[in-house]
C-alpha cells in the first residue's frame, strides 16, 4: 500500500504542475480499436468539469516537474521551491489504463519539465507513450508535448505515436520571450512547429496514395499563448494566431489568462487574472476559424484591443451598420455567419429550412436561433424585429444590456412600435 500512497502524492504534484496548460480537446482524430483497448472518437468527449468550469477530457499530467529552465511565468521553474518527482513509463501507463477502463478519461495528455537535455526528455516522453501503444495496445487519444530544442528525428517519432502534438509558444513576441523565458529561443519553438506542419502535409499526401502509410499526428498540432503576463495588445495576439492558422495550419491556439504563480519582478503586478480578456480572445479566435473573419477586420491600429463588454462580432457589426439588416430568406450563408447572435449551427439550419419555404421571424426560435442580438440585424420576409432601428444610438446600449429577467416576461412586452402598429392594422382590417 506504500506504493499506492506514493503514487497518489506523485499524481497530485504532477497534475498540479500540468493544470496550467489549457489544451483540453480530444477531437479531430479517429482511431479504431485494433484488438486492444480504446479508440478515438472524432467528435471528442468531455468526461467531467472541475470547479473552475474547465472540462476534463484527458489525463493531463507531467512526466516530471523537475526543470532546467527558469521561465518566470511557470510553476515548475528551476528557482521555485516545490517537491520534485518523476513518473516511470510503467506508472504513466498504469494510471492511464486504469482511468481509461473506468471511462474517467478520453486519453492522455503528457507534458513534462525539461531534465538533463531536451533530447533526453523527449526520449522519456516517447518511451512512455510507446509503452502504452505497443505493450497495452492502447488506441485512445494521446496528446504529446514536444520539448523545445529536441532533435527533429524525435519529433517525427512523437508524431507517429500521438494523435496531437503541441509545443507552446507561450509569449507572443520575441522580446517577451527573451524577458520571461531567457533559456528558450523563439526558433527552438517555431522550428519544430514548421517541421510538424511539413510532416503532416507530406503524410496526408502519402496516405492519399496508400492507406497503409501510418498516420502522423492525425489531430494536428496546437499551441498556447499566455495572455496578460506581458504588454502585447490583442491585435498582436490575434494577428499572430491568424498567421499560425494560415501558415502552419494549426488546429488550435489556446489562450491562457495569466495567473501569477510567482512574485517575480519581471512580471506585472496585477490583482486579478484577465479572464474576460481571455474569453474575448477565444471569441475572436472562433471568428477567424469558422466565420471567415480576418484579424484586421476585428482590430486595427485605432482600436488595438477587443472591447471588454461587447463581443467581437457585435463590435464589428456596429462598425459596419451599412451592411445590415440582412434578409434571412435571401442572404448567403457567409453573410448569415456575420450576423451577431447567429452561429454556425443557426446559419446552417436557416439555409436548410428556407429551401422548404420562406421563414418568418417566428420560425427562427423553432430552429433554435437565438434572437437576443440577431433581431437588430435581420429582417424576415421584409419584417424587422428589433425594438430600435440599426441606425439608432440605442442599439449599442441594447446589445450591452444584461439579459432580461425571466419573471418580467408578463409585464414588459418586447414588441416594437412597428409591431403594435401591425396589430392595430389587423384589428382594423379584420385580418389575422
Amino acid at each position: 500500500m506504500a506504493t499506492a500512497i506514493d503514487l497518489m502524492d506523485k499524481l497530485k504534484i504532477l497534475a498540479d504542475g500540468a493544470k496550467y496548460d489549457v489544451s483540453c480537446s480530444s477531437s479531430g482524430s479517429f482511431r479504431r480499436n485494433k484488438g486492444g483497448i480504446g479508440n478515438a472518437a472524432s467528435c471528442g468527449i468531455c468526461h467531467s468539469w472541475t470547479s473552475d468550469g474547465r472540462c476534463v477530457s484527458l489525463l493531463k499530467i507531467l512526466m516530471t516537474n523537475s526543470c532546467i529552465y527558469d521561465c518566470a511565468y511557470c510553476v515548475n521553474r528551476r528557482s521555485n521551491d516545490t517537491p520534485r518527482v518523476m513518473l516511470t513509463p510503467a506508472e504513466v501507463a498504469e494510471l492511464t489504463i486504469g482511468f481509461y477502463r473506468r471511462n474517467y478519461i478520453e486519453g492522455l495528455f503528457l507534458s513534462t519539465g525539461v531534465i538533463r537535455s531536451p533530447d533526453h526528455t523527449m526520449e522519456l516522453l516517447i518511451g512512455a507513450v510507446r509503452t502504452l501503444r505497443q505493450e497495452y495496445r492502447f488506441n485512445g487519444y494521446i496528446h504529446l508535448k514536444l520539448v523545445p530544442g529536441a532533435d527533429p528525428l524525435l519529433v517525427e517519432q512523437a508524431g507517429l505515436l500521438a494523435d496531437r502534438v503541441s509545443i507552446n509558444l507561450e509569449l507572443p513576441t520575441r522580446e517577451s520571450l527573451a524577458l520571461l523565458a531567457p533559456d528558450k529561443s523563439r526558433e527552438a519553438v517555431v522550428e519544430p512547429m514548421r517541421q510538424v506542419n511539413s510532416l503532416i502535409v507530406t503524410n496526408m499526401a502519402e496516405r492519399k496514395c496508400s492507406r497503409k502509410v501510418p498516420r502522423f499526428a492525425p489531430a494536428g498540432q496546437s499551441t498556447q499563448l499566455i495572455v496578460g503576463a506581458t504588454g502585447e495588445t490583442d491585435r498582436q495576439i490575434v494577428t499572430l494566431s491568424e498567421q499560425l492558422y494560415a501558415r502552419l495550419a494549426l488546429k488550435r491556439v489556446y489562450y491562457s489568462a495569466f495567473i501569477p504563480v510567482s512574485s517575480d519582478s519581471r512580471l506585472p503586478a496585477r490583482a486579478g487574472s484577465p479572464l474576460r480578456r481571455e474569453h474575448r480572445l477565444y471569441q475572436a479566435d472562433w471568428l477567424l476559424r469558422y466565420y471567415g473573419f480576418n484579424a484586421h477586420e476585428l482590430l486595427d491600429e485605432q482600436s488595438p484591443n477587443l472591447e471588454s463588454d461587447l463581443d467581437p462580432k457585435s463590435g464589428w457589426a456596429l462598425r459596419h451598420l451599412e451592411l445590415f439588416p440582412v434578409e434571412i430568406n435571401r442572404a448567403d450563408y457567409e453573410v448569415l455567419l456575420r450576423v451577431p447572435g447567429i452561429g454556425v449551427r443557426s446559419a446552417q439550419r436557416i439555409v436548410t429550412a428556407r429551401r422548404q419555404g420562406h421563414l418568418s421571424i417566428d420560425d427562427l426560435p423553432l430552429l433554435g436561433v437565438v434572437l437576443k442580438r440577431a433581431r437588430y440585424f435581420i429582417t424576415a420576409l421584409g419584417r424587422y424585429a428589433g425594438d430600435c432601428s440599426p441606425e439608432s444610438s440605442l442599439l449599442r446600449e441594447r446589445l450591452l444590456a444584461a439579459p432580461a429577467k425571466r419573471d418580467h416576461g408578463q409585464l414588459d412586452l418586447p414588441f416594437s412600435e412597428q409591431e403594435t402598429a401591425d396589430a392595430s392594422l389587423s384589428t382594423v382590417s379584420g385580418e389575422l
Binding site: 499506492a4 503514487l7 497518489m8 499524481l11 497530485k12 497534475a15 498540479d16 493544470k19 496550467y20 479504431r32 480499436n33 486492444g36 483497448i37 480504446g38 479508440n39 472518437a41 467528435c43 468527449i45 468531455c46 468526461h47 467531467s48 468539469w49 472541475t50 470547479s51 473552475d52 468550469g53 474547465r54 472540462c55 476534463v56 477530457s57 489525463l59 493531463k60 494510471l95 486504469g98 482511468f99 477502463r101 473506468r102 471511462n103 474517467y104 478520453e106 485512445g140 489568462a257 495567473i259 486579478g272 487574472s273 479572464l275 439550419r349 436548410t352 429550412a353 429551401r355 422548404q356 419555404g357 421563414l359 420560425d363 423553432l366 430552429l367 433554435g368
Partner: protein, 248 residues
C-alpha cells in the same frame, strides 16, 4: 376513423401500428401502451397486435422513402422519454408520406419541429453520457456502471462502449427505466435486458484505489483563481452527480 390506438410498447409494435395507420392517413387521437385511464363513451380503442413481418416491410419502406437524417431523428425520438413520442412520430410520418425526402429539411414545420426538438434532446443526452458513464470494477469480474438518464439512451451509446471496451465484461444499468446493457467480451455482443436494482455490487481493492486516485486528481486539477461553480453546474447538472465517482 380516429380513436385511441394501443400497442405493446415494442418498436415492432409501433411499426405495425404505423403501417396500419400512416399509409391510409388515419389519424389516431392518441397512441398508448397501457389501457387509457378513463374509458370514454365516444372514442373507440383499437388494440394493434404486433406483426413482425409487417413491421419489417414497413421499416424497409421507411428507409426508402425517408432521408438518412429523418431516420436518425426518428430513431432518437423513439428513445425519448416523452409521453407524446408516438404521436410526434406519427405526425412526422404522415407529413413524410406526402413530402418524402425533403421532410427532414422542414425544420420549422409544426409536424417536424417538436420531433426534431425531442430528437436533439435525446441526442445531446446520449452524447453527454459517453462521458458521464463511470465503470466500477466489481469482484465478480465485470465493470458496472449505474446511471439514470432522462431518456432511454442506452441503445444509442452501447456501440460506442462495445467498440472501446471490447475486451471488458461490462454492464450499463439505467436505474430510471429499469433496463440494462450487458456486454459479453467472448462473443463481442451486447444485449438490452430488463434489470432490477439489487444493492451495490462488491468492489475490488484496485477499484477503491483508482477511485481515490481519481478523486484527488480531479480536486487538484481545478485552478482556484478561476473558480466558477455556475459554469461547472451548467456542464455537470446535479442530477448526474450521484453516479459520478468524483462528485460522490
Amino acid at each position: 376513423m380516429g380513436g385511441i390506438y394501443r400497442y405493446d410498447g415494442s418498436s415492432a409494435g409501433l411499426l405495425t401500428l404505423l403501417a396500419i395507420t400512416v399509409p391510409r392517413g388515419v389519424a389516431p387521437d392518441a397512441i398508448c401502451v397501457a389501457p387509457p385511464p378513463q374509458q370514454s363513451l365516444f372514442t373507440e380503442v383499437t388494440v394493434v397486435d404486433t406483426d413482425p413481418e409487417l413491421a419489417e416491410t414497413f421499416q424497409n419502406e421507411l428507409s426508402q422513402r425517408l432521408s438518412p437524417i429523418s431516420l436518425h431523428q426518428l430513431r432518437h425520438a423513439w428513445h425519448g422519454d416523452h409521453p407524446q413520442r408516438e404521436m410526434l412520430i406519427f405526425r412526422y410520418l404522415l407529413l413524410a408520406w406526402r413530402s418524402g425526402r425533403s421532410t427532414s429539411g422542414m425544420l420549422a414545420h409544426p409536424s417536424v419541429a417538436p420531433l426534431w426538438k425531442l430528437a436533439r434532446m435525446v441526442g445531446r443526452e446520449a452524447h453527454r453520457y459517453l462521458g458521464f458513464v463511470r465503470f466500477r470494477e466489481t469482484s465478480g469480474g465485470f465493470f458496472y456502471a449505474p446511471l439514470s438518464p432522462d431518456h432511454r439512451v442506452l441503445p444509442l451509446i452501447a456501440d460506442h462502449f462495445a467498440a472501446r471496451f471490447g475486451d471488458q465484461q461490462w454492464v450499463l444499468h439505467d436505474l430510471r427505466h429499469s433496463e440494462g446493457i450487458v456486454h459479453d467480451r467472448t462473443r463481442r455482443q451486447w444485449l438490452l435486458l430488463p434489470m432490477e436494482t439489487s444493492g451495490d455490487p462488491e468492489l475490488t481493492p484496485a477499484e477503491e484505489q483508482f477511485q481515490s486516485l481519481w478523486r484527488s486528481y480531479f480536486t487538484t486539477l481545478a485552478i482556484d483563481e478561476r473558480r466558477n461553480l455556475p459554469l461547472q453546474q451548467g456542464n455537470v447538472p446535479l442530477k448526474v452527480r450521484p453516479w459520478l465517482v468524483e462528485f460522490a
